[in-house]
């Protein structure tokens, strides 16, 4: 066998090793000894990194009216190692803190780091920073850093806009974008669109001499990164309508949700009592927050999305629509009513009998809807009423009930539509239409949120479809839709033709002689609505009203809930009608009505308290 000895090649390999090592040593000799441009003498130059905070994106309403903007505030930073021979009393005098506080703050800063800057005093206003700035050259180790605070030109929509606050440890761990002391969206829109709003912070490196004076930017700023401003957001909210809604709801508990049926954009989302978002800004944030948190009227809770109510009579329209779709009733089907004596559910209204569907909606006749519901469940199409019920369930959830829309609406809850399993468990399998009869009139286990109710109104306005209610219209700087799912059309199980009779009945609520909202009819706008009253075992009933307008080309659909206010027609209906008029005509002609509603106080004079 031929074999050659290649061992002499080891010399070539060793040669390569030596060559590379020599190259490195020569290069390092050049870098470290000959070329002075890479040399920084640490003795006379100290570099300081200054974080450049980007302005946070602004928030506008649907008409380009500013909802949230930024205002400058100033943080005082300290680098403990540089603090030598300082005049403590001067610092205390300038900043308005006492000596023990000063010592505590310095201790805290030292615990964080001797040589890295940390916040000494936060969010000093423009007014106060002037005098500090003048004297700052006398104090080594203190620096001013500009920050921005959120401000709200109108004191509205606190719940949905949310607020920003300093990052906590969890935020820091989750996303290394943040540095201690950064602001982050804590709730609402500020939180949901944080990634767009926050922008990108920059860093500039400045040279500082031994006297701590900035000598200029280091290396002509070639290592600086500029801060990139956050993106601006346009919301579907109409600021004027939102403000108007909040004024109408003042001193009342409840909510208004108004939606543009053609897009699903939320026009107004009022939860009352609310709060002025300017209260949760800057240094005042913490004390105000705990004050709001301890308020017995829970102003921090967003009733529009977190409140759940039995929908009452407004739900009768859902049963009517399901009945028509499943052919359990026809639009001419009549059922007799024995008023108070009706069984198994009595009627709360006094009216002629028998009624067809249209009259039954207008009069809110309980026995009529009990019969409708019974026919749906006992539909001969299905073997038994359990199958009938699961079919009813399938129809009802197609309206968006019983689940969250999962859009950018803050703090949403899902409400409840009980399914077969639930009743199987509760009644151990033995139940039928009679057992669950409360559902026929929107009571019992059914719970809906105001936003789902407004969406019901959207569906009737659109004759059978909706877009998930959402707040965002447009994100500045994005060519494509960042939320394509908001444009997705959700079609209910109900065919468009079946809506006509329900819509006509809703028109009659305003326009017929017996209509429950006939006092609020408008000549110029064709309004459709439905009252509901929710029994409240703890006090006066809640008043509910859903509406949309104009009938033939709906521009607004809404739900109004006023807690402990009795019948729907007293408070909820006029509020809905005023909102409609305000949105469509720009202002209300009915000043007397407006005044009565705005001045109405259902909280402080309430009989229940």
């Amino acid at each position: 066998m031929y074999s050659k000895d290649y061992s002499s090649r080891k010399n070539i390999i060793i040669g390569v090793f030596i060559l590379i090592a020599l190259t490195f040593i020569i290069r390092l000799f050049y870098l470290q000894i000959i070329d002075s441009s890479y040399k920084l003498s640490a003795d006379n130059i100290v570099l300081r990194k200054v974080r450049e905070y980007p302005p946070r994106g602004l928030i506008y309403d649907r008409n380009g009216k500013l909802l949230v903007f930024n205002e400058a505030a100033y943080d005082l930073l300290v680098i403990p190692r540089q603090m030598k021979n300082i005049d403590t009393s001067l610092i205390c005098e300038l900043t308005g803190i006492d000596k023990p506080t000063f010592i505590k703050k310095i201790k805290k800063a030292k615990r964080y780091s001797y040589y890295k800057p940390s916040t000494f005093i936060k969010q000093i206003s423009k007014k106060d920073i002037g005098s500090i700035q003048e004297k700052l050259y006398q104090i080594k180790g203190l620096y001013i850093q500009t920050r921005t605070l959120r401000q709200y030109p109108l004191p509205i929509a606190g719940h949905l806009l949310g607020s920003i606050g300093e990052v906590n440890n969890r935020d820091l761990e989750k996303d290394n974008f943040y540095k201690s002391g950064d602001y982050i969206g804590k709730s609402g829109i500020e939180n949901y669109y944080e990634k767009y709003l926050r922008g990108k912070s920059g860093m500039s490196i400045v040279e500082v001499d031994v006297h701590n004076r900035v000598k200029g930017s280091y290396s002509n700023g070639s290592f600086d990164t500029i801060a990139i401003a956050g993106q601006d957001i346009y919301l579907g909210i109409d600021a004027q309508l939102q403000l108007y809604g909040e004024q109408l709801m003042q001193n009342k508990k409840g909510s208004i949700v108004a939606i543009d049926p053609q897009s699903g954009e939320i026009l107004a989302l009022v939860s009352s009592p609310g709060y002025n978002p300017n209260l949760l800004v800057g240094r005042e944030r913490s004390p105000n927050y705990s004050k709001l948190l301890n308020d017995t009227l829970v102003p921090l809770m967003n009733r529009a999305t977190m409140g759940t109510y039995p929908p009452g009579s407004t739900f009768k329209m859902v049963n009517a629509l399901v009945g028509l779709q499943e052919k359990a009733i026809g639009k001419n089907s009549e059922f007799s009513c024995k008023g108070q004596l009706s069984k198994p559910i009595k009627c709360t209204h006094d009216h002629e009998t028998p009624l067809a569907l249209s009259g039954a909606i207008e009069q809110s006749c309980n026995p009529y809807f009990w019969n409708t519901f019974k026919n749906i469940l006992e539909n001969p199409k299905y073997d038994n009423s359990h199958t009938g019920y699961s079919n009813w369930y399938k129809n009802v959830v197609s309206f968006g009930f019983g689940k969250k829309f999962k859009t950018d609406i803050p703090f949403e809850v899902s409400g409840n539509i009980p399914n077969n399993d639930y009743f199987d468990k509760v009644y151990r399998g033995h139940w039928n239409a009679l057992t669950v009869r409360s559902l026929s009139i929107g009571q019992g286990e059914i719970l809906v949120t105001p936003i789902q109710l407004a969406n019901l109104s959207v569906i009737i306005a659109n004759k059978g479809y909706y877009y998930s209610p959402h707040l965002l219209v447009q994100m500045e700087g994005e060519k494509e839709d960042i939320m394509p799912e908001f444009k997705e059309k959700h079609i209910t199980t109900i065919e468009p033709d079946n809506f006509d009779i329900v819509r006509d009945a809703m028109l009659d609520v305003f326009e017929a002689d017996h209509g429950t909202a006939r006092w609020f009819v408008l000549d110029s706008i064709k309004q459709c609505g439905k009252t509901g009253t929710v029994q409240n075992p703890h006090g006066e009933d809640h008043s509910i009203f859903i509406a949309f307008a104009p009938m033939d080309n709906p521009k607004i659909a809404l739900s109004v809930i006023v807690e402990n206010s009795g019948f729907g027609s007293t408070w909820a209906a006029p509020i809905a009608s005023l909102m409609i008029e305000k949105y469509i005509s720009g202002k209300s002609q009915r000043t007397a009505l407006e005044k009565r509603i705005m001045e109405g106080d259902l909280i402080h004079n309430s009989k229940n308290e």
């Binding site: 090649r9 590379i20 490195f24 870098l31 890479y38 640490a42 570099l47 290592f223």
Partner: protein
């Protein structure tokens, strides 16, 4: 008992001493880069220096275990290690976690393991095993294809994990193949390819080909003996031209934008001090500021201000450059050089072909890491992000290099027992 005495007696203490020195230098640099003002507990595993200390402890255990195991164990199970690690590399592609853009980690509890690090020693074992088989003839095409296949498999799998740096390491086996009798042309071809690669990126490919044609004709014109052998010369010309075209294609279509950018910055085509060039520039400043003697231990201002990104992992060399100056880095480079030459000498004194080839594998891998890592911190190599052996922070790389080295030291200690 007798056996163990023999091991400690036969072990190459030169290599072990350098190994320990490098680990100590590495830990001190990690300490400088990651410790705050007041250090209360060196073993605090919430800090990098504390963690590294733990990993050094485990590496010591690994080294001792390897020295105790029978030397034949590794040659016998070479292929098992190799196939096992290839399977793990495939597994990572499906079940791995992504860290810094590379899907190359397995997360176990709070710790992450990077299998690509361990694939190196397995490949070195497999290569040694294959080339040391009795009837392997280096001149046969089949031998060449299989040995290159052994290298390409892990390289491709690692490339799929988006970890270009670790994939390039397998290039270093060219040295092993060269030593074992692959034509010397492989080395020259490698160098020519590297030159063509850079030139193609700097100038348009048509100019490069025109220049190649010109050079060929001048050569044939001047050197008379080449006239008779014109056929292979033209073959080389055609191959080179094809290579030039494929480089351009690969550069435009295969490399990720950030990798393109890094290469462009290195070649001086692009000035980018905020992006890819940032690390290198910061790194050069930190090293440059060290001067002749450095600023002293824990006095490196730039290091302490986190001036250089990744300074306890890939850019650890900067910390040494800043704090220990030119003298320090020269000592470090000489330490590496002694280790590399020592490994070649040890490899050459092996009686078994397996041990020799494996020894060269160890030297080649360490040499590649040494060259690329230090090269990138001083702006002589692209920033591909591979660790500096025994110094960089990280458990996976420390353990993998320890295993790699000590398997060879064990073979060496046992060399007299080989017939």
């Amino acid at each position: 008992m007798r056996n163990r005495e023999k091991i400690s007696g036969n072990i190459d203490w030169v290599s072990v001493t350098i190994y320990i020195s490098l680990i100590v230098i590495g830990w001190l640099s990690i300490f400088t880069a990651s410790a705050g003002e007041d250090v209360t507990n060196l073993f605090d595993i919430s800090t990098r220096y504390g963690k590294q200390l733990m990993w050094i402890g485990l590496a010591t255990v690994l080294a001792i275990v390897i020295m105790i195991i029978d030397a034949k164990f590794f040659s016998t199970f070479s292929y098992v290690f190799y196939i096992g690690l290839m399977l793990i590399l495939i597994g990572v592609l499906f079940f791995g976690s992504t860290v810094a853009g590379s899907k190359s980690w397995f997360k176990i509890g709070g710790f992450a393991i990077q299998p690509a690090e361990f694939a190196k020693f397995a490949t070195a074992l497999a290569m040694a095993k294959y080339l040391s088989t009795l009837n392997v003839d280096m001149r046969k095409l089949k031998t060449k294809v299989i040995s290159i296949g052994i290298l390409v498999a892990p390289a491709l799998l690692i490339l799929l994990q988006n970890d270009t740096g670790s994939a390039l390491v397998y290039f270093s086996f060219i040295l092993v193949l060269f030593r074992e009798g692959f034509s010397g042309l492989i080395l020259i071809a490698g160098i020519i390819m590297a030159i063509l690669f850079i030139v193609t990126l700097l100038f348009s490919e048509l100019y490069v080909i025109a220049a190649l044609v010109l050079i060929t004709f001048i050569l044939i014109f001047i050197v008379k003996s080449l006239r008779r052998n014109w056929k292979p010369i033209f073959g080389i010309l055609v191959l080179s031209s094809a290579f030039v075209f494929s480089v351009n294609y690969a550069f435009e279509n295969v490399l990720e934008p950030h990798q393109k950018k890094r290469i462009n910055v290195l070649l001086g085509i692009e000035q980018d001090l905020r992006g890819a060039g940032y690390n290198v520039n910061q790194s050069k400043i930190a090293i440059g500021s060290g001067g002749l003697t450095g600023k002293g231990f824990r006095k490196g201002v730039l290091t302490r201000y986190n001036f250089v990104p990744e300074q306890s992992t890939d850019f650890i060399f900067c910390t040494i450059g800043e704090e220990w100056g030119f003298i320090g880095v020269t000592v470090l480079i000489i330490l590496y050089l002694i280790l590399l030459i020592r490994l070649v000498i040890l490899a050459e004194r092996q009686r078994s072909k397996f041990s020799r080839i494996y020894g060269y594998g160890v030297a080649s891998i360490l040499f590649f890491h040494f060259t690329i890592n230090i090269g990138m911190t001083i702006g002589l190599a692209p920033v591909v992000g591979i660790p500096l052996p025994f110094l960089s922070y990280g458990g996976s790389s420390l353990w993998a290099f320890t295993v790699l080295l000590f398997i060879f030291l064990k073979q060496d200690a046992n060399r007299l027992n080989v017939l």
